[in-house]
Symmetry: C2
Subunit: 243 residues, 2 copies
């Protein structure tokens, strides 16, 4: 198993109003660690792009023990744990200076053919570099519980902005977190701290779209849905604790 | 004169769709360099906050020769060049690996009393640490040219989001760049590269507000205004070149 480690310091513009690392930055740093591992193993973006392939994330599970504060230095460890011909399961651990686990992320990745946006088989010569365990069945992350028809939701529309699109020409994954969090009232956000996220991506969003971020908030659980018209783009469940 | 230098690598989530450092990140890194210098000189946030004082930026001028690309490592140099009892003029230079200047920023800073949000005199014992030149008059950055009544503008409304507020409890300055850029059509943005910005802040924006980002685009010059109702929050002029 190839374990990769990255060190980062939380800068003021990476924190939210609480002075702690923002939710989108948790994802950005996780993806950064996996990118840097791929580069270090010689199978980075230039290698798979040259074959017309790109990595995509299908699902995230995030457990937050505590979010690091501005100026705090943390380590992010990751490895490609298990794979089968189509999927990779990649865990991440965020550790503080005392080597305490503060954030734990699990994720399921796949590769797509960039031209037709369809799932592609993982190339053996790329995947073997990670020294992952080959398995028949990738252990699944449970699906986030859906919003049901009788649950009264709150929603807001968000125009997909120019800066929501990153260098990969697609909406940066972390923006989904922003839309899902922002639809909850500031009053609730200031009185609660997030403890877990389970987010599943369904359909890609492009620039110029307007999306609807819908939430059903029930005590310390919020169920989320991102819609483009009638098409579900992502679903998630967040858990919260009172501050 | 105390020159401070900071090194940063452009990460994928800090780039826009062009694969180059986004406009908001230029500002974030400039402010980061000045914060780190203040910390290094022992007059960081904890020192001025304990006296009820905070730094604010009144105006920025940014000249962009080229924006660095994802994975590129650059240096950001800054110093507090000149000051008088109320203002500091602080330049920044972004240098690439060949020590070529790629972005040049100038800025005017002041201090405010955090309670009443009024301008405060700069404490001598803090300001002397920067070894700045004391001058009678701070050389001013020219005001950005205003939108006139006869100029036909385009505008969009932006709701101030939870994540627009940073750990200082105020809208992160760099969000103004995002609102000003986003109101321009993606078609124009993809065909033009920004070469300079002159941005002047007028009035603070708070969470929950909806702001209007207004632009008058004329060839390779765009004039911008951010409004909260009738109150002007910021004005700017951007210059562009064809790609």
């Amino acid at each position: 198993m190839n374990l990769f480690e990255l060190e980062r310091r939380v800068e003021y513009y990476e924190a939210d109003v609480t002075g702690k690392l923002s939710l989108p930055m948790i994802l950005n740093w996780a993806v950064l660690a996996s990118k840097m591992q791929s580069d270090a193993l010689g199978v980075g973006q230039s290698v798979h792009l040259s074959r017309g392939l790109g990595w995509i994330i299908l699902q995230y599970e995030v457990k937050i023990i505590r979010r690091p504060e501005v100026n705090e230095v943390i380590k992010i460890q990751t490895n490609a744990a298990k794979y089968n011909p189509f999927f990779v399961r990649r865990p991440f651990v965020f550790l503080d200076q005392n080597d305490e686990e503060i954030i734990i992320v699990d994720s399921i990745w796949a590769m797509i053919d960039i031209e037709n946006r369809k799932m592609a088989r993982l190339p053996e010569d790329i995947i073997e570099k990670y020294h992952a365990e080959r398995v028949k069945q990738i252990p699944r992350i449970p699906n986030p519980e859906k919003i049901t028809a009788d649950e009264e939701t709150v929603f807001k529309d968000y125009h997909v902005r120019y800066l929501d699109i990153d260098a990969n020409q697609h909406v940066n994954n972390s923006r989904y977190f922003e839309w899902m969090q922002d639809v909850i009232s500031p009053d609730y956000l200031l009185k609660h701290e997030i403890t877990s996220i389970n987010l599943k991506f369904e359909n890609e969003i492009h620039i110029g779209h307007t999306i609807k971020s819908e939430v059903f908030l029930n005590g310390n659980i919020s169920k989320h849905r991102i819609l483009m018209g009638d098409i579900v783009s992502a679903e998630a469940v967040f858990k919260w604790r009172n501050l």
